[in-house]
Symmetry: C2
Subunit: 506 residues, 2 copies
Amino acid sequence: MITGKNYIGNELSGIGNKSHKTINAKLNLENSINFIEATSNEINQAVTLAHESFQVYKNISGKEKASFLNCIADEILALGDELIEVFVLESGLPEGRAVGERSRTVFQLQAFANMIQTDEWKNNIIEKALPDRKPSPKPDIRKTYIPIGPIAVFTPSNFPLAYSSAGGDTASALASGCSVIVKAHYMHSGTAELVSSAIIKSVKKTGMPNGVFSNINGGIEVGQNLVKNLKIKGVGFTGSKSGGRSIYDIGSKREEPIPVFSEMGSVNPVIISPKSIDSKSIEIAKILSESITLGAGQFCTNPGLIIVVEKENTNSFIDNVIDNLIKKGSQCMIHKNIKESYLKNIEYISKQKGVKVLSNTDIELKGNYISSQINSVLAKDFLVNSKMHQEVFGPFSLIVKCKDENELIKVIDSLEGQLTGSLFAEEGELKEFYSIIDKLKSKVGRIIFNGVPTGVEVSQAMTHGGPYPASSDSRYTSVGLDSIKRWVRPITYQDWPIDFLPSDLQ
Amino acid sequence: MITGKNYIGNELSGIGNKSHKTINAKLNLENSINFIEATSNEINQAVTLAHESFQVYKNISGKEKASFLNCIADEILALGDELIEVFVLESGLPEGRAVGERSRTVFQLQAFANMIQTDEWKNNIIEKALPDRKPSPKPDIRKTYIPIGPIAVFTPSNFPLAYSSAGGDTASALASGCSVIVKAHYMHSGTAELVSSAIIKSVKKTGMPNGVFSNINGGIEVGQNLVKNLKIKGVGFTGSKSGGRSIYDIGSKREEPIPVFSEMGSVNPVIISPKSIDSKSIEIAKILSESITLGAGQFCTNPGLIIVVEKENTNSFIDNVIDNLIKKGSQCMIHKNIKESYLKNIEYISKQKGVKVLSNTDIELKGNYISSQINSVLAKDFLVNSKMHQEVFGPFSLIVKCKDENELIKVIDSLEGQLTGSLFAEEGELKEFYSIIDKLKSKVGRIIFNGVPTGVEVSQAMTHGGPYPASSDSRYTSVGLDSIKRWVRPITYQDWPIDFLPSDLQ
């Protein structure tokens, strides 16, 4: 049962007087439950509990933490149909997506659980003493990693499960030994409360300390209060550039600045070589339009920029993309606010100098349904107008037509940092693309050959992050097993008796 | 020959009208050479060259970069006596220290060179495709690490060589594939220019691109200009808390925020158990007083806080420490500004409520010579006055007397983040110290048993950094081979043909 309250540690609490309702995205009507925003007092209580429980939780063995994560996975599955129904109701996304995202969430928790069964992931270093070294003896020094403290997690609108209450940030932080406070996204507060109930059940079942997890409702002010609290030691954020930057700024202006990992999305440029268009126009148009419309385009890896060198077949390729998009029909966005900014943004872009609207959305659609849109522009106009470089969240892509490879390099060079960059080309022509690939590499966290950016593997080799503003610190990933590195710091033990070293350093 | 100019890439340049002289620390007299501050134009030129050379340098093989680093080591040694003489002249430190620090500098360069001969240090991850995986095939994904871009290095007053122009920050950044601009410390501009000449010689000898290294003179304004330049992508700083924080703030307020690793020192608490004092009073007093006075106390790992539980033998132990310090006599500090703030700080601390001056410096000493000082205070007074918690740079230590173990834990809990924490105890009593060790761990980057904090190994297991304000990001170290991790970011290759992958991912 969804109560509309916050989880302050293991207890449900809702003493505030501000509240909101989620909406039925398909009908654009309010759902019935009132979600009560956390008060300053409740936030402080949650942080105090997170701080106190951290003193215990940080020293719990990897195996015990793994049982906790596995239990969360089980309890999420045990929520059964209710979770899927609330997910669909709050997001307007299809049931298949809900089921798929639940699988991903469960898989992430289990993957971290599996990893922390042993201490191998820390890559501890043991250097034994060299008492006879000249000119001075070398002490025994051993390095391991310990968790940094309570972590605040800000969840995005577009992943009610996999990047939310029990998503990648929470799973990696709990795996590292940090306690977690989630500020749930107001668009899916019900999904968040259900998942949080599964986490709290697991806290109790596996004997974890009260406060190792809290889930609070609220807006900007609640989030700011949370990050300003000096007991919070790190932040994971997924969302918009403006939101991510403002949280980053709060974190770095504190008396004690803290690491804030903001994943803020990108336009994910896709370069398509002339030879690719010649040989695989239909095939590429198909997978590209599928990627553009996946989840109504509401992915941070959505391909928002298609870069081509204009040749004979370019226009027929674009026609192929548009044909595919038209076949897709309309799609429901996750919230009226998302729909409204999508419509505002595509209108804004369409009015920029040189932009042609190739397929448009001027049909009146019910609820939060929208159509995809493709625009095109010449590189010379794109290069001088950074307004076109910004992400449009939704099933939109801008095709930039370059007159030659040199102009194409200039286009890539003009871009901000990106999560991904893709190149469609024939293997035989790759040598000619050396400079383009080198330039693209310098802008992205993941570089893809003959594929689309949507679809982010959860594994150790994944990088989901990139130069600013794709993320606030390109040295980390927010997806995959290495995302745990955001929440740990090294500590070196010097000359300790073996028996008093942590077991993984003995 | 020292010219007083800046190295803007390979060229000596000194077009500005601001200048300064270094001082002869022992005599407190100005040395003859005028060091010309870099102008805004020169800074921009250096950054432009660093940006351009980075486009080439980042793709140079590890082996070639290793030759470059080894060449720098050789060229520093080839500077011969002139380097040692200038070091001693500018710092007032003894010749033995100059020779030792040169060895450390050379060793660091060679250690990084050795590490980057292969790509093993990156711990690349290769995950091959699983085309038959259900429900969707797994792509081929491979992760490696690439350098982030031009790095600004701010050097401290206390290490004219090992943490300066060719010190740990420069060596690790060059090893990573980043270009470097050093803002040399005004107290040893001559040493900096000499070392820079050795680096520039190596740039030319090994065919590295012009601009991969620059060395500029200047004060706060020059440093701010440098960090504000959007082509700078990271900063390494060693120095005071106020300086490190101001550089961190500039880096995080930029339109594109960048990682700033500031190592800002600490008081390095040393806890001495009653049983240790009973059994090893003379021995501990000796190594402790040697650590306090090493390099006239001008180390960021200087033990500035000694914490004891007051028992029968405590006062005789303190007397032993003082006896040792008196035997040490006076020492020359590296600059009149350092001497003046030392004298100001010890006077300030001595006036705090409850502080007793146990040995003092009220003798008139010539040049920049000073005496060490030991004060004591009861824990109850220390706990309520954070002014006593601040670092005094120099041969000073404050002894905090606790009435019992509980008060000792409160003292540790009251401290800010530290580079190191040490515990002198008998192995047999360690079990009783569990809570103390756990609390100390949460405050430090390195925890030492029966040893002093001075002496920082350059190896992979070292952590030189710690919770704020010991450093601005406790997740990194500025000493040892892992310090290279500050300057690289992950990149994932998805589905690339083997031949077009970087060689270390094939």
